[in-house]
């Protein structure tokens, strides 16, 4: 066991991948000498050289598109998109090409490309640097989407993404990059399956489902609720596509109440998908409607007011009160 930050854990995970898998390589803007704007690839170019840690031209479609070509030649590229809001120049390549290649080739071709995207707000940044576009990708069949919330998961999930034969987008909670935690670099343990949700805290009165940056928020909310005598179960979804509905359903059957929280706007979001599925699967167990907590239907607001936009402990507790009122 070693203590490290999420950023360092991803760095170590990438180092392990580059060491173990000679056909893996990293691509992105400023990932070489600078080590990425968040230093996630720090030191890797010195160790593995410029052919395996590739500073690319400033062109997201080109990054994803050439990664697809490399994967067709048998390579396993890991692309870094600098910020969530900058993935859109590459959106066409991700949705029309990467996601569909295996299907349209009748299974003859595989394109095991990994795309890393730092996402979410709470860092006081300027526009396009704080967004949560995961639902746009989750809606596209052919992609897998995972998001770690702690260093141990981060270390293993990036390697599991590279090992996966499908294209995988790893959304990295940028405001938690410096969150420290224990990492077991010997074995993933309970994190062996990146597409499985984890119950982080058991409870009996309500379930709160979160992922990525809101995991610590939900855990703190559950702690606060406990002081008020409410027992809240917290689930870290970990995978946004596919979603581990079995784990969520089992929890709701026990607690009877479900709150889903994410930074992304609630409309058309992952919370709505979970609400619909759970109402189908566990209708008779529900004591209250599924309540979503998320961003508003507006462009991500300016930094000075983002605290009013982002779901926090109080917003989750308010949703809990509403659920318990039924």
């Amino acid at each position: 066991m070693t203590t490290m930050t999420i950023a360092k854990a991803i760095n170590e995970g990438l180092r392990a991948t580059l060491s173990n898998n000679p056909r893996s390589l990293l691509m992105g803007e400023d990932i070489g000498a600078l080590g990425g704007v968040y230093r996630v690839t720090d030191g890797l170019i010195a160790e593995f050289g410029a052919d395996r840690v590739v500073d690319t031209p400033l062109a997201e479609s080109g990054i994803i598109g050439t990664a697809i070509g490399l994967s067709l030649r048998g390579y396993q590229p890991v692309c870094e998109i600098q910020f969530d809001g900058f993935v859109f120049p590459g959106f066409n390549q991700i949705t029309t090409q990467l996601a569909k290649m295996h299907s349209r080739s009748n299974g003859n071709l595989t394109v095991p490309v990994v795309i890393r995207i730092p996402y979410g707000g709470g860092i006081g940044s300027i526009e396009h640097h704080s967004e949560s576009p995961e639902a746009l990708f989750a809606h596209t069949a052919g992609l897998r989407i995972i998001t770690p919330s702690n260093p141990h998961d981060a270390y293993w999930m990036i390697q599991q993404a590279v090992d996966c034969q499908d294209p995988v987008i790893v959304f990295e909670p940028k405001r938690r990059y410096w969150l420290k935690g224990e990492v077991d670099t010997e074995t993933p343990g309970a994190s062996a399956d990146p597409f499985k949700a984890h119950v982080l805290r058991e409870g009996t009165d309500a379930t709160v489902v979160v992922y990525g940056p809101l995991v610590p928020v939900a855990l703190a909310a559950a702690e606060a609720a406990a002081e008020d005598g409410h027992s809240v179960e917290v689930i870290d979804l970990r995978s946004i596509s596919p979603i581990d509905f079995d784990t969520v359903t089992a929890s709701v059957r026990k607690t009877g109440r479900l709150i889903v929280a994410h930074e992304a706007p609630t409309f058309g979001g992952i919370g709505g998908e979970i609400a619909a599925r759970i109402s189908e699967r566990a209708f008779h167990s529900l004591e209250a409607p599924v309540i979503r907590v998320g961003g508003f239907h507006m462009p991500y607001p300016v930094a000075k007011v983002e605290e009013d936009y982002l779901p926090d402990i109080d917003r989750i507790l308010e949703a809990l009160d509403r659920a318990l009122a039924y």
């Binding site: 000679p22 390589l25 052919d51 690319t56 031209p57 062109a59 479609s61 080109g62 994803i64 598109g65 050439t66 990664a67 697809i68 070509g69 490399l70 994967s71 067709l72 030649r73 048998g74 390579y75 590229p77 120049p89 066409n92 390549q93 029309t96 090409q97 569909k100 295996h102 299907s103 349209r104 080739s105 009748n106 299974g107 003859n108 071709l109 595989t110 095991p112 069949a141 052919g142 897998r144 996966c164 034969q165 499908d166 597409f195 596509s241 596919p242 979603i243 581990d244 509905f245 079995d246």
Partner: protein, 426 residues
């Protein structure tokens, strides 16, 4: 209106101001713009200081093969168009007029090269030994691909314009890495200097319309930065559906290469010998590690964009006539006959082979089976996926319900028959 310009009546009454007309004429072939041409429209072989040596290597069999391939793919084009008109294909994308650009370039590629087409490169597919009946799967709506690219190194058609251009560059970057890995392994195993895999290059096709897409720009930036072994083969067929190439570019497309820092060459796209020479040069150069080349094959889409298109809405028959006079097949036939390299019996045989191919394609198209949607469930992901599994299970149950109904219908029909029989017996 300048004296050298065509009278407006020949453009079906379309009025153009002088500037636009001058531009249109420039697009049709400004003699001031250098263009590699070896075999002229009159069928005589000219010379070029750089590329004649490639033409000189071509033996009579190869030249006859160029003609046979061009004739074959034109015949195929006619057949596919007919199949669409008869409702056997949802859509067809004709290539007539572009045979030399496609056969000349395709035949310059080596088996180890990898080709990324757009969706009109049926002629290139022929040179890569793709079964042309397989090619029709996509247009019949029974597959989004149709062939396995690994069999022929001819990638699937890409319908999102220019999206395949960065794939080509990435693939070429992979070839570069393969060569380095092979060299490193050879050194490590003490076998340095021994023959390894032949060097490979990538060729990617796109058109004058797609040249405006950002992906072409990004691809050329990447290709130049990493000196990737890739040949950009742009067929400037003058029309992006209804929009003339003058809207896509103010300069010859080949000139754009200079801005990226690699050679760009305009070649007469209706001259199969010149296209072959220029492409062979470019691919050799790429394989030898000298980086990318842009080839602009100056040609013309004689037919419609697709079978859903109506060119009479946007261009005149006079323009088409001008280009028919530059026909790639006619000029090679003239040359072969004049040089005594082919006689009537050869051309008769080519026609017969074309008809045979057409009959094969017609029969095979009729026989193409509609796939089971279960294959779409199976091919969405490589690895097991719970949502796909759940939806497939639902679909199976739902479908089975209809099977029960069908059985029930059958049973009630039988029952009705029995009643009828009973009544009759009474």
């Amino acid at each position: 209106m300048g004296a050298t310009h065509l009278p407006s009546t020949e453009f079906d009454g379309t009025e153009m101001d002088d500037q636009l007309e001058a531009e249109a004429e420039a697009q049709l072939g400004d003699p001031a713009e250098p263009m590699v041409q070896l075999l002229g429209p009159d069928g005589t072989l000219g010379s070029d200081p750089v590329f004649s040596k490639y033409a000189e290597k071509l033996d009579p069999d190869t030249l006859r093969g160029f003609y046979a391939d061009m004739a074959k793919i034109r015949r195929f084009d006619v057949e596919a168009t007919a199949l669409q008109r008869q409702g056997q294909l949802a859509l067809w994308v004709p290539l007539t007029g572009q045979e030399a650009a496609q056969i000349g370039s395709g035949r310059a590629s080596q088996p180890q090269d990898y080709i990324f087409p757009t969706y009109r490169e049926h002629g290139v597919a022929l040179t890569r030994n793709v079964d042309l009946a397989e090619l029709l799967r996509q247009f019949r709506g029974v597959s989004n691909g149709g062939w396995n690219p690994k069999d022929t190194n001819f990638h699937l058609y890409t319908l999102v314009l220019a999206a395949q251009t960065p794939h080509a560059v990435g693939y070429a970057m992979g070839i570069q890495r393969d060569q380095k890995l092979a060299a490193a392994n050879a050194v490590a195993s003490g076998e340095a200097g021994q023959a390894v895999e032949p060097n490979a290059a990538v060729m990617v096709y796109f058109g004058d319309g797609a040249s405006s897409e950002g992906d072409v720009h990004e691809s050329m930036v990447f290709a130049a930065s990493y000196q990737a072994p890739v040949v950009f083969f742009c067929q400037n067929n003058h029309w992006a559906i209804s929009v003339p190439s003058s809207v896509q570019t103010r300069i010859p497309l080949a000139n754009r290469a200079k801005g990226y820092g690699f050679p760009g060459i305009r070649v007469d796209g209706n001259d199969v010998i010149a296209v072959h020479a220029v492409t062979e040069w470019a691919l050799e150069r790429a394989r030898d590690g000298h980086g990318p080349v842009l080839i602009e094959a100056f040609t013309y889409r004689v037919g419609a964009h697709t079978t859903a298109d109506d060119p009479t809405k946007y261009r005149g028959s006079a323009e088409e006539g001008l280009w028919r006079a530059k026909d790639p097949l006619a000029r090679l036939e003239k040359y072969l006959r004049a040089e005594g390299l082919a006689d009537d019996s050869f051309f008769e045989q080519v026609r017969a082979d074309g008809d045979e191919l057409a009959a094969y394609v017609r029969k095979t198209t009729h026989d193409l089976e509609t796939p089971d949607i279960r294959t779409a469930f199976a091919n969405t992901y490589v690895e097991a996926h719970p949502l796909v599994a759940e939806e497939l299970a639902w679909f199976e149950e739902y479908s089975a319900g209809f099977a029960d109904e069908a059985t029930a219908d059958e049973a009630s029909a039988e029952e009705a028959d029995t009643v009828q029989t009973d009544r009759a017996a009474r």
